[in-house]
């Protein structure tokens, strides 16, 4: 019994705990009838401004809330609170992404059954959030025109993990000579068939189309659950 080595088969997903917790969260969200939308992007792509607009526009008819992740400061939560919706900041310290367990603890004290939509704004980062399922129904990846056109090719994993690409800051497209056709081609190259929505949170252009899409996705999600 000495000097030898042996191999023990394990075969376990490293993120199994996160995946299991995300699955539980997804079930909890479905049971409560709340549609959960997460947002990922690089820092400064306009997640918070778009979310503020989205919350404000959904609020008259829907009960909405948001969780927002940042390494530090509660600035984003303060900005989003201007929409009148309940908002909680998740400060991650040094962690560069949100995990399902952080979403779960942030939900403490909220009655999910009272909500129609819950938004989760991830930490600004195009790499790390892609590996972590948060139990969301829909993941939006934001790409601002000021970032150029090749972000999808440089960060294929995050684009591939998302359901919809939202091109933001369209009001600046001409000023930065944004090549829209190239951006669309690059998105489709890493995620064939991906839906793309173009918005300007500043002028409001395209925000209604995004909201209509979110509403119909929520309805489609409900229909899918009902037929299960």
């Amino acid at each position: 019994m000495s000097g030898g080595t042996r191999i023990i088969e394990v075969r376990q997903n490293i993120l199994k705990k996160n995946d299991l917790l995300a699955r539980d969260l997804r079930q909890r969200f479905h049971d409560a009838g709340v549609y959960v939308v997460s947002m990922v992007s690089s820092p400064g792509a306009g997640k918070t401004q778009l979310l503020e607009q989205t919350l404000t526009k959904l609020r008259p008819e829907h009960s909405v809330a948001a969780l927002v992740g940042d390494l530090a400061t509660e600035n984003d939560a303060a900005r989003l609170a201007r929409s009148g919706a309940p908002v909680k900041q998740i400060t991650t310290g040094t962690l560069c992404h949100l995990e399902a367990s952080m979403v779960e603890s942030a939900l403490n004290g909220w009655n999910l059954a009272e909500l129609d939509f819950l938004f989760v704004e991830n930490v600004g980062n195009l790499v790390c959030p892609s590996s972590y399922d948060l139990g969301e129904d829909l993941r939006l990846v934001l790409h601002s025109v000021t970032e150029g056109e090749d972000k999808p090719l440089k960060y294929p994993t995050i684009f591939n993990s998302a359901d919809v690409a939202v091109i933001t800051k369209m009001d600046l497209a001409a000023a930065v000579e944004f090549d829209e056709a190239a951006a669309v081609r690059n998105i489709q190259a890493v995620r064939p068939g991906m839906k793309i929505i173009e918005v300007s949170a500043k002028s409001g252009a395209g925000v209604d189309a995004l909201i209509e899409f979110l509403r119909s996705s929520k309805e489609a999600g409900k229909a899918m659950v009902a037929s299960e």
Partner: protein, 115 residues
């Protein structure tokens, strides 16, 4: 840089496995990491060293097998390996492909233990 979180998850998982089996002398942990898993091997290996410090796993090796991306191409009715430069296009027929059959792995495969 979420490699440190991943490394800590690995240490936690291996410690649980070891406890379940009555305590193991782990010499190496073998992983499979897909090209689309969003994890950088070198960063993970150095994070693992940090995550192991002051645990029973200190000094153990992380052995990483990188798994290339393989797609299923419906036109060819075949699995096709794809290169980073031509992701999501079939290298045989050029058709756009969406079904990833391999390349998102992020798993502990086995433990090498001293007896």
């Amino acid at each position: 840089m979420h490699e440190l979180s991943i490394a800590m998850s690995i240490v936690e998982m291996v410690e649980e496995e070891s406890a379940r089996r009555g305590g193991l002398q782990v010499a190496a942990v073998h992983l499979r990491i897909g090209q689309l898993a969003g994890v950088v091997k070198e960063a993970l290996v150095s994070s693992y060293e940090m995550a192991c410090a002051d645990t029973p796993l200190e000094g153990s090796q992380l052995v990483v097998e990188e798994v290339p991306v393989v797609m299923y191409c419906p036109s060819c009715d075949a699995r096709q390996p794809v290169l980073a430069s031509e992701w999501f296009n079939c290298p045989e027929c050029g058709a756009s492909v969406t079904e990833i059959v391999q390349g998102k792995e992020l798993e502990v495969v086995s433990l090498e233990v001293d007896e």
